[in-house]
């Protein structure tokens, strides 16, 4: 019985998704090494990847429908952990409590993991609904589910992390029949109002330089450099640009990160390190790998056997695409500096474990596409 199941599982296992994700993670470890060859971040990341793979396999070979059934339980546990972060159990770094230190498990970032229960909770609620346009009542309940973790994360406060939750809600509402007129309205309102108000403010001098700095400080306190707003952005842009076509390929003598010009090279600015070391060729390859991975996951969503599965995959896809864009946009100097990790690349156990668990769900859902 077990053998048959295993055989069928292996046959339907999404090798491409798994191999792509692991390949990107390994590429990431190499870049973490390039960032700071004398530090141990890269070897820690190998261990992190190992743990993440265990989590990935466990989730991938579980029946996601069972897990979605238990979503409220995970959701509540997650909320409790987020609550614990703002208690004295939370670890404070730079005036921000984003970390929790527990015995045996050690130090981790609940706001990163909380994305999974949030996705499952939303998928459970919207997956069971009937066909037809989204009702106001449903939108409100969805919004409340979403608001719980966001509210707790803002207490830390970690605006950068909170922002990464929004694509999840947006994707779920959009794919649950939110009327197009609202979609267009919301998009136009956001696309026009926010930037134009800001640009107008800056141009008329209403928003002064120090105020811009303050706005950034409100959005993400830990990324505002005491040596002046712009230092991170400038150094990251220089680092990306100097990579050129083929990059410096690990030359420590000229490395922006080894010479400490580039801040946070192994985490937030891992893309700048990648750009410097592997150049345009390496970066385009990375972007193509992301595109391929996202496409493969979306294909899984299309074949999903139920609505909940489709919503889980598309939430994961949206969150990942958004994080990739925010992180690389920041590294390329056209988006504000917000501490969003680059999925599969940035050093950090919480991030890589969460990402691989999420991909585990994607693989699990795809594996069960013929099940009814």
């Amino acid at each position: 019985m077990a053998a048959i199941l295993e055989k069928r599982d292996l046959r339907d296992f999404d090798w491409l998704t798994a191999v792509l994700a692991i390949a990107i993670a390994c590429f990431g470890i190499w870049q973490i090494h390039n960032a700071l060859p004398t530090e141990s971040y890269w070897s820690k990341q190998i261990i992190g990847l190992g743990i993440a793979l265990v989590g990935f396999l466990v989730v991938a070979f579980s029946d996601y429908r069972r897990i979605v059934d238990y979503a409220p339980l995970f959701f509540v546990v997650g909320l409790v952990l987020l609550l614990l972060v703002v208690t004295p159990l939370g670890v404070e770094v730079n005036g921000q409590k984003a970390w929790l230190k527990l015995p045996v498990i050690g130090q981790f970032q609940p706001s990163e993991f909380m994305k999974i229960p949030t996705v499952l909770m939303l998928a459970k609620y919207f997956g069971s609904r009937k066909s037809g346009p989204l009702q106001l009542r449903e939108t409100i309940i969805g919004g409340l589910i979403f608001a719980a973790p966001i509210g707790l994360i803002m207490l830390e406060p970690d605006a950068g992390q909170a922002i990464t939750y929004f694509p999840i809600l947006a994707a779920v509402l959009f794919l649950s029949g939110l009327k197009l007129r609202y979609v267009v309205l919301a998009t136009v309102a956001a696309a026009v109002f926010v930037p134009s108000a800001y640009i107008l403010g800056v141009k008329t001098g209403k928003i002064k330089r120090y105020q811009q700095e303050r706005i950034l400080a409100i959005i993400d306190p830990d990324s505002v450099d005491p040596r002046g707003y712009g230092y991170h952005t400038i150094q990251s842009t220089i680092t990306v640009g100097k990579g050129g076509l083929a990059g410096i390929q690990g030359d420590t003598e000229t490395s922006q990160s080894v010479l400490k010009f580039l801040p946070e090279p192994h985490t937030d600015f891992i893309f700048a390190v990648t750009a410097e070391n592997s150049g345009f060729i390496g970066c385009v390859s990375l972007l193509l790998a992301y595109a391929l991975l996202l496409s493969r996951m979306i294909a899984g969503a299309r074949q999903s056997s139920d609505r909940a599965g489709m919503l889980v995959i598309m939430s994961v896809v949206s969150a990942m695409a958004f994080q990739i864009f925010m992180n690389i946009g920041m590294a390329q100097g056209f988006l504000p500096v917000i501490g969003v990790p680059l999925p599969l690349m940035s050093a950090g156990l919480s991030a890589i474990l969460t990402t691989f668990i999420a991909i585990g769900f994607v693989v699990s859902i795809r594996m069960r596409r013929f099940v009814n």
Binding site: P133, G241, G244, E253, A291, F334
Partner: protein, 635 residues
């Protein structure tokens, strides 16, 4: 379900999400192309600029020696505490002031000044916080390298003048190039930059190009805090060329000593070889200590001393020999009489002129010191008869005087190899002004000019050159200090990109001497008079030396308006010896000391004695008797 929900257009919505994701990735790709391919070179350069730093290795300046190889100027190693600018820009410095002033034992005010200056500098440059760091300072900086990474220790060869005030006007000093010089096109073309050390005054300035070495540099990679990580290239400096001067330090010391013991301690003594223009000694008092400018500029007391030099009414910074202009008094008669002989106003055979105890111009009587009857030229020189000069001056006229001035080139600089030489002022230069304001050149001005007063002020070096030319029977050489510049070897191999070629040594290139037309008869009558000044009961008879015959002329130049009294006269003595085969010429000028015979002549004698003390006794000394076959003066 397979997205079969047509009411919601679910398939299309999923496709929309996918397209949106691709658009975002495409935006990143386009931006990446712009940054890395279009602007890649630009960012590579920016990154290089912030990590690569050129640290100059200063080149030792060439040393300066006297003619016998005695050291006059040297460089010695010193250590500076410097501030690296790059890490400093990102720091709040106000908190550092007290740390620096306590740790390095500096005045707080001075630290504040330095920190304000550095803000105006470019990145990657360093600024000296403390010069001449002591061992304690170095230890303090090293032990606080974590706390104050902006402080570094730098080796700096420093100019050292072991003789202090001796020869200071000739040597000059060095210092940082001034902001106004940096604006100057001449300096810009030569690639000077702020902080470069250049010669200021004296030989240091005149021969700066050769004395200055070519700095090397270290090309290093620094991290974001400015700490050196690796050295990628090193180009060693090429030292400057050593300068051998014509100075004889023993004579120089004698001259300095004579000025020091003079009554006013103000004046100048210059000694020259009349046969080639080599300056053997040039002293000017009061003098300054060049070391003050080197070491003192960064210390409050040093800066006070420098300010005091500039403000001192006695003007210690100016070289009286080449920049001082004095009425030459009776010493002026020597070139004047040579001119009169050349122009045929008098002849060696018929040179008698009326003294008459003085002269009356209009209703004003200008007197002679005595009444010499109607003396011949040599007697008039020996006794310094003014009446003779008045009458001769009127006879040759101001035109004749101007012609003489051109012959002896008093209207030009002597061409000595020192900067900022002044040109004498004479009736020639005054003529346009006088004609404009007085309509004509009056006889009284001619009379005054005939005894080196009123419209005549000459530099001591010009007077020395003039009298030397009489001693050489009409050959007037350009005075100079340069004997030789020593060659310097090349740095590196010829195909090396950092190759610095060798520099050829060279010696002084003598211009052709100017010729003062002079017949043998004319020469002898002049010499007889000048020999008599010292050796035949003349005005300087008191300095007569046994076996060493000096030819000379005293001068007592009135400082205030003629006849009005006031400050004491300037004392002059111009001379050469041995009279009939001169080896050395000396001019002595003692300001406001009174009679030339009493004050200037003995000073010259002191230098002659120093010369004789080291002169080879085996060398013959030609006497007047041997040269002329006659004993004593007179016709």
């Amino acid at each position: 379900m397979k997205l079969n929900d047509h009411i919601q257009n679910l398939g299309a919505r999923v496709a929309a999400v996918q397209i949106l994701a691709f658009i975002l990735l495409a935006v990143l790709g386009v931006r990446l192309y712009y940054l890395q391919i279009v602007k890649g070179a630009y960012y590579a350069e920016r990154a290089e600029n912030q990590r690569v730093r050129l640290i100059p290795i200063p080149a030792p300046r060439g040393a300066i020696f006297d003619r016998n190889g005695k050291i006059l100027v040297d460089s010695r190693p010193t250590y500076n505490v410097v501030l690296a600018n790059e890490p400093l820009k990102k720091l709040d410095l106000s908190g550092r002031i007290d740390d620096y002033s306590a740790g390095l034992g500096m005045e707080r005010q001075f630290v504040v000044e330095r920190l304000n200056l550095i803000k105006k500098q470019n990145d990657f440059e360093t600024m000296v916080l403390k010069e001449n760091a002591t061992m304690q300072d170095i230890a303090w900086v090293e032990s606080h390298s974590i706390e104050f990474p902006e402080l570094l220790i730098e080796l700096q060869p420093q100019r050292f003048y072991p003789l202090g005030t001796v020869l200071s006007h000739v040597l000059g000093y060095v210092g940082e190039i001034s902001p106004t010089q940096l604006e100057d096109a001449d300096y810009k073309d030569k690639g000077f930059r702020a902080g470069d050390i250049i010669g200021k005054g004296g030989l240091e300035q005149y021969y700066d190009e050769y004395l200055r070495g070519r700095p090397g540099y270290r090309k290093v990679i620094v991290d974001s805090r400015g700490r050196v990580q690796t050295e990628i290239a090193r180009v060693p400096p090429q030292a400057g060329m050593d300068l051998i001067t014509t100075i004889d330090l023993d004579l120089q010391m004698a001259a300095e000593q004579q000025l020091e013991s003079s009554s006013t301690k103000r004046g100048t003594i210059v000694s020259m070889d009349p046969n080639n223009g080599e300056i053997l000694a040039m002293a000017s008092h009061p003098a300054y200590d060049p070391n003050v400018f080197i070491q003192g500029a960064s210390k409050p007391e040093g800066r006070r001393q420098i300010a005091a030099y500039w403000q001192d009414e006695k003007r210690p910074l100016y070289n009286r020999a080449t920049q001082g202009r004095y009425p030459p008094g009776s010493t002026w008669k020597i070139p004047e009489y040579v001119g009169a002989l050349e122009q045929g106003v008098i002849t060696p055979q018929h040179s008698n002129m009326l003294c008459g105890g003085g002269i009356t111009i209009g209703n004003k009587f200008t007197r002679c010191m005595g009444n010499h009857g109607s003396p011949p030229l040599d007697y008039a020189i020996t006794k310094s008869c003014d009446g003779y000069a008045y009458h001769l001056g009127l006879k040759m006229g101001i035109e004749g005087m101007v012609k003489m001035i051109q012959t002896f080139q008093f209207d030009k600089p002597t061409g000595i190899d020192l900067p900022n030489e002044k040109v004498s002022q004479t009736p020639k230069s005054w003529m346009p002004w006088i004609l404009k304001h007085e309509g004509k050149w009056s006889d009284i001005r001619t009379v005054y000019a005939s005894i080196g007063q009123d419209t005549v002020v000459a530099t001591p070096i010009a007077m020395l050159r003039a009298i030397s030319s009489v001693g050489t029977e009409g050959k007037m050489y350009t005075p100079h200090f340069l004997k030789e510049f020593k060659p310097i070897a090349a740095i590196g191999e010829e195909d090396d990109p950092n190759y610095i070629p060798a520099r050829q040594g060279f010696t002084y290139q003598h211009p052709e001497p100017a010729i003062i037309p002079m017949t043998d008869d004319q020469y002898h009558v002049m010499l007889r008079g000048m020999w008599g000044v010292v050796n035949n009961g003349g005005t300087a008879g008191a300095i007569k030396m046994e076996g060493w015959e000096i030819a000379g002329k005293t001068g007592t130049a009135q400082v205030s308006e003629l006849g009005s009294g006031g400050a004491k006269d300037h004392a002059w003595f111009i001379s050469f010896a041995p009279a009939y085969k001169p080896e050395i010429a000396i001019v002595a000028l003692i300001e406001n000391s009174g009679f030339g015979a009493a004050n200037a002549a003995p000073a010259a004698k002191g230098v002659y004695e120093a010369y004789l003390a080291k002169r080879d006794p085996a060398l013959p000394i030609i006497t007047q008797e041997e040269a002329t076959g006659k004993k004593g003066g007179g016709n």
